[in-house]
């Protein structure tokens, strides 16, 4: 295509990236602004950061979200990896069927998925509870781990495995010395991804958290409706930095967009 057309495309790309990053830049700028609520005049200060670490009320919710995300990720990573390994022993057809069923919790609108789990939990007498919230979040991150690890299996060279078997290595030895190191980038990508998804899964937490307990997304939801202090910007800026680091790590791990969005 000619140069003029390409320049139009370039200008459009700049426009799109500005749109994508505008809210993020606004949050970061606000976190250093002494004037509240995104208003002018802009006066640089670090007060909100000191406020965040000394008297913020956001701390319990952040801690709960971190605990939830870590515990859910830990179990999802183990179960998801096991499932991806198991898929290798199944026929291609059966494995494809399992993978499409495993996508169900992320394809169905989360509103319906969360409500149906809530009703089931009420039915069993468990109701809104920590264990319910844990299970609800687990089921929406598990598909991501399976997807990432199974994708790693599909990409990897499988000859070392056969060679090791032929040379007399036991099943266990093959698994720990060959399969696990080979899968490691996939496992780590899956874990990072499920951590992010779980940390942000507002819908699941909103419907399944015990009464009176608020995770960070729920806390932000409440604060938007009832009024907030600007230390939320400082916390958001820190979260954006963490997100960026995780995205960079995923990139290093050859996290492929195609796995997630390819058809």
């Amino acid at each position: 295509m000619n140069r003029g057309f390409n320049n139009v495309i370039r200008i459009w790309m700049v426009f799109i990236y500005i749109i994508l990053f505008l809210p993020i830049i606004v949050i970061v700028l606000m976190s250093f602004n002494k004037t509240n609520y995104g208003m002018l005049p802009y006066v640089f200060c670090l007060d909100w950061y000191t406020y965040l670490f000394t008297k913020s009320e956001l701390f319990p919710a952040t801690l709960l979200s971190l605990e939830l995300a870590f515990s859910v990720t830990a179990l999802a990573t183990v179960l998801g990896t096991a499932a991806a390994v198991g898929l290798q022993y199944m026929s291609r057809q059966l494995s494809a069927r399992f993978q499409s069923i495993s996508q169900l919790p992320i394809i169905i609108p989360w509103l319906v998925q969360a409500i149906s789990i809530l009703l089931l939990l009420n039915f069993t007498g468990l109701g809104r509870s920590y264990i319910g919230m844990f299970l609800g979040n687990l089921i929406v991150v598990l598909p991501y781990v399976i997807m990432m690890v199974a994708g790693r299996f599909a990409d990897a060279d499988r000859t070392p495995e056969d060679a090791a078997r032929m040379l007399g290595a036991s099943q266990l030895r093959v698994f720990f010395d060959i399969i696990l190191p080979m899968l490691f980038p996939g496992i780590l990508s899956g874990a990072l991804m499920s951590f992010m998804v779980c940390f942000n899964a507002f819908c699941m937490q909103y419907f399944l958290a015990p009464f009176g307990v608020r995770t960070l997304p729920m806390e932000i939801f409440t604060l938007i409706r009832t009024g907030y202090k600007p230390d939320i910007n400082a916390l958001a800026t820190l979260l954006i930095i963490v997100t960026t680091i995780i995205v960079l790590a995923l990139n290093k791990l050859k996290y492929s967009v195609k796995k997630m969005f390819g058809t």
Partner: protein
């Protein structure tokens, strides 16, 4: 041979725990939604069931509220999807074909960052931008387009703007994966055989991008139609969508039976929409020679 069968059965056992979870926490609850749709009230604290009734279904099909909101939600879903396509297509093309290959990774990572950022934080930030005397209104006021002390916040327009912003990365990433896969030689061949730019786009590029476009539509339309956070926070009194109606049965009115009925009917409609899009995806893949 017997060794192989043994290995086969033992190996696939690794799938069992995950299968059990998907069964108990996704498939069974979704199926039981139909049972719960017939409840006449709430489930008790220890799981006591209230009586069963068909009134919930009669209520849905006799009042127009649900279908009006459903219609509106699908409409908003279609508008948001369309705007996302218009915004994302040239950008995805740019990332896939115009940008230097060594920059592609960076550009894609930059799309993934907002995609991984908390939805609530993005909504909150957009609210400060859209509020009266906020960033956007000050610019519009400066350009004398609008009065900076007014705001579009708490209208359906605000809901649409924020939804477009939230789902734009999905569309870009889906389109990118398809466009990036188009072999440049195909485009050159089309040109050297005498096709113009428009003809090349219509006959070569667009059909090749169809699978990505359709999966982008699937990933945007379905969640947008079912969104409830945005209408609650940004929609104001007339911003209700079907998601907020369903949510209100669980958080305000507390009528779980009716809430289940609403969710069930909503789910059936969504599944029909998804099935239609999936059918098109299969057809599009077949027509460009994929499997």
């Amino acid at each position: 041979m017997s060794y192989n069968i043994n290995k086969f059965t033992k190996g696939s056992l690794w799938v069992a725990p995950s299968s059990l979870l998907f069964l108990c926490l996704s498939i069974v609850p979704l199926c039981m939604l139909l049972l719960f749709s017939f409840l006449s009230g709430n489930i008790g604290i220890n799981g006591e069931m209230p009586g069963y009734t068909v009134n919930n279904f009669i209520k849905i099909f006799s009042s127009i509220t649900f279908f009006k909101l459903m219609f509106k939600s699908v409409g908003i879903g279609l508008i948001v999807t369309l705007i996302c396509i218009v915004f994302a297509y040239p950008a995805a093309w740019g990332i896939a074909k115009v940008a230097k290959p060594k920059n592609r990774n960076l550009l894609i990572m930059m799309v993934i960052i907002p995609f991984f950022t908390s939805q609530l934080l993005l909504i909150y930030s957009m609210m400060t931008i859209l509020q009266a005397k906020g960033f956007l209104m000050l610019i519009l006021g400066f350009l004398k387009i609008a009065d900076p002390s007014t705001s579009i916040l708490y209208t359906n327009t605000a809901v649409i703007i924020v939804l477009v912003y939230e789902y734009l990365p999905y569309m870009i990433l889906c389109l990118y994966t398809s466009l990036e896969g188009i072999n440049d030689n195909l485009i050159h061949a089309s040109f050297s055989l005498g096709a113009g730019k428009v003809k090349t786009f219509i006959n070569v590029i667009f059909p090749m991008s169809m699978p990505g476009l359709l999966s982008g539509i699937l990933l945007v339309l379905v969640p947008v139609t079912g969104s409830f956070v945005e209408p609650i926070l940004l929609g104001g009194p007339y911003g209700m969508m079907v998601g907020s109606l369903i949510n209100s049965q669980f958080s305000i009115v507390l009528n779980m039976g009716y809430g289940a009925t609403l969710s069930f009917v909503f789910l059936v409609i969504i599944i029909i929409i998804m099935a239609i899009i999936r059918m098109f995806i299969t057809r599009a893949k077949y027509s460009i020679g994929g499997t």
